[in-house]
């Protein structure tokens, strides 16, 4: 029974520092190699070879890029606000690299000194920590755009912040349905409740997942939502004036946001480190590491093992890598939105849908509780059906060209042509911005 005690004392301190450093290093490495993967996959989609000169298959390319960026000249516009120009990238990269800390990445690891949880910081506010930090990420963008004293950069920074705050609402609301099923905000509980239900939440909460996916793409400013750095309009947006490693810091921030979002999708909706089957279940319950409850409600002890930790780590990695791939795939599949379309989608489609969906899920759960259906497979199945209906409604009936105006409006007899009407007041001073 010694093995099942949580780790404590000096070994716990060592484990804590070790986990922090390991996760930080892993994040930086994954970010570096995601940049290579992005170029390789882009090349593959476009039927090119991609980087293949530095090292075998171009594997040393990220290192070469890093060295190049370190040695490049830094430019700074003479009219820039020097202090905030330098602080901008730092304010961008710091929140981006610390958000991943609350994501559990493998089953608990048994060691001779006790069981080590495979999560950097199992804090009681879990998901809220991620939301809080992502709302702080806005400052880096808007300040670097503002301090550059460049019109493109300034507009890019403004657009980025307006877009991020708009989609943060939808992101938060799509998480609410997950919290209902998990009954807690910590991600360890989210993983555990998915094991308990026998369903990954992507099925009973399918519409929630779709809303989360869309908002996560918008939050990370990736295509089709990369309005802040739309090359055809804004050069490269808020980092137009940045070069050398300062530019790289924005780059690292963007990719680690992508990594965190992918890890979150895997954790919230695809079971996290959980692999199909009940053999790897493990959760702390009143000081015991348990694998579940038997029919009478008594806890069953879990059997952690190092190979389970390794397998679940691989499973978590695979799921995360899949979503990273999805990011790149979507980039080369969908064209960019117009800015008014982005804002309309956020406020007029995502927000009302997410609100309605939250109420539908809660009503379903309460009805199921009323019928005394216990939390498990049947429970999940009913929710899957209800959410499936909502998803079908969302995908096929909701918009169909009514709310978001398309690039070209098809002529329809029954509908007046919708054109943006702007009345210019001759005497009024011109308002810039868009």
């Amino acid at each position: 029974m010694d093995m099942l005690q949580p780790i404590s004392g000096v070994p716990a301190l060592v484990a804590m520092v070790g986990k922090v450093l390991a996760v930080f290093t892993a994040t930086m490495l994954v970010v570096a190699y995601t940049t290579l993967a992005e170029r390789k996959i882009s090349a593959w989609i476009q039927d090119r070879s991609g980087p293949n000169r530095v090292g075998p298959w171009g594997l040393l390319q990220p290192i070469a890029d890093g060295i190049k960026n370190f040695l490049k000249e830094e430019t700074m516009p003479a009219t820039a606000n020097r202090f905030w120009f330098v602080a901008g990238p730092m304010l961008s990269i710091t929140p981006a690299l610390v958000t991943i800390a609350v994501v559990p990445f493998a089953a608990p690891l048994p060691t001779p000194w006790g069981v080590v949880d495979m999560i950097v910081a199992d804090i009681p506010i879990g998901i809220l920590y991620i939301l809080a930090l992502s709302s702080l990420g806005v400052y880096g963008l808007v300040l670097s755009g503002w301090s550059s004293n460049n019109k493109y950069a300034f507009l890019g920074g403004l657009r980025a912040s307006a877009q991020m705050v708009s989609y943060e609402v939808a992101l938060g609301l799509s998480l609410v349905s997950v919290l209902m099923l998990a009954g807690n905000v910590t991600l360890t509980q989210v993983v555990w409740q998915q094991q308990e239900m026998g369903f990954w939440f992507a099925f009973p909460l399918s519409l929630g997942f779709i809303l989360f996916l869309i908002s996560a793409f918008a939050e990370t400013n990736r295509l089709p939502f990369d309005m802040p750095e739309a090359e055809s309009e804004l050069v490269t947006g808020y980092h137009t004036e940045y070069s050398s490693m300062k530019f790289s810091m924005f780059f690292i921030a963007e990719y680690s946001h992508m990594l965190t979002a992918s890890a979150l999708m895997a954790t919230l909706f695809f079971g996290g480190w959980d692999l199909p089957g009940a053999w790897d279940n493990a959760f702390w319950h009143e000081g015991m590491l348990i694998a579940g409850f038997d029919a009478a409600g008594a806890p069953i002890l879990a059997q952690p093992a190092w190979w389970k930790t390794l397998l679940t780590l691989a499973g978590f990695g695979l799921k995360t890598v899949f979503f990273l791939f999805l990011y790149i795939w979507v980039r080369w599949t969908l064209p960019r939105f117009r800015y008014d379309q982005v804002m309309s989608l956020g406020w007029k489609v995502m927000l009302p849908t997410a609100l309605a969906y939250v109420m539908v899920v809660s009503a379903t759960v309460l009805v199921l509780d009323l019928l005394e259906v216990s939390y498990g497979f049947t429970f999940g199945l009913v929710l899957t059906l209800v959410s499936g209906l909502c998803t079908v409604a969302f995908l096929f009936f909701l918009d169909s060209d009514r709310i978001i105006s398309g690039a070209s409006v098809p002529y329809r007899q029954d509908r007046p042509v919708r054109m943006p009407v702007t009345q210019v007041d001759a005497g009024a001073p011109g308002l810039s911005g868009d």
Partner: protein, 118 residues
């Protein structure tokens, strides 16, 4: 409980060090050969006209206000979602009322054109 935040303090320290370290290292290593052209804000090769810091559209202000309101709504939804199954139908009715009130606000804003971007 607040002890569980300790690794976060370390992680924050590490990533702040990382950010400052990158900035300082690149400042030391890279060459600087400024010319008047390089120091100009980049506007696609044109000589910049006018000032950047014009007053900008009030739409951004509307976005920020709407964000605060609906962010607060999300935050009120979170504890309810967590405790929903314990609170039962009483909580559901209370929350429905709250959501309806704010949906009225959203509808009003929509009809008034506060969500338009053109």
């Amino acid at each position: 409980m607040s002890g569980s935040y300790a690794p976060l303090l370390i992680l924050f320290g590490v990533s702040i060090l990382n950010a400052v370290g990158i900035a300082v290292a690149t400042h030391i290593v890279n060459p600087r050969r400024p010319t008047p052209q390089k120091d100009m804000p980049y506007e696609s090769g044109m000589i910049p006209l006018g000032d950047t810091r014009e007053r900008f559209s009030v739409k951004f202000y509307m976005v920020a206000i709407s964000f605060i309101v609906f962010d607060l709504e999300t935050i009120f939804l979170v504890p309810w979602a967590v405790g929903m199954r314990g609170l039962g139908w009483g909580g559901f009715v209370a929350m429905s009322l709250f959501v309806v009130v704010l949906t009225l606000g959203l509808v009003y804003e929509w009809k008034k054109g506060g969500l338009e971007w053109d």
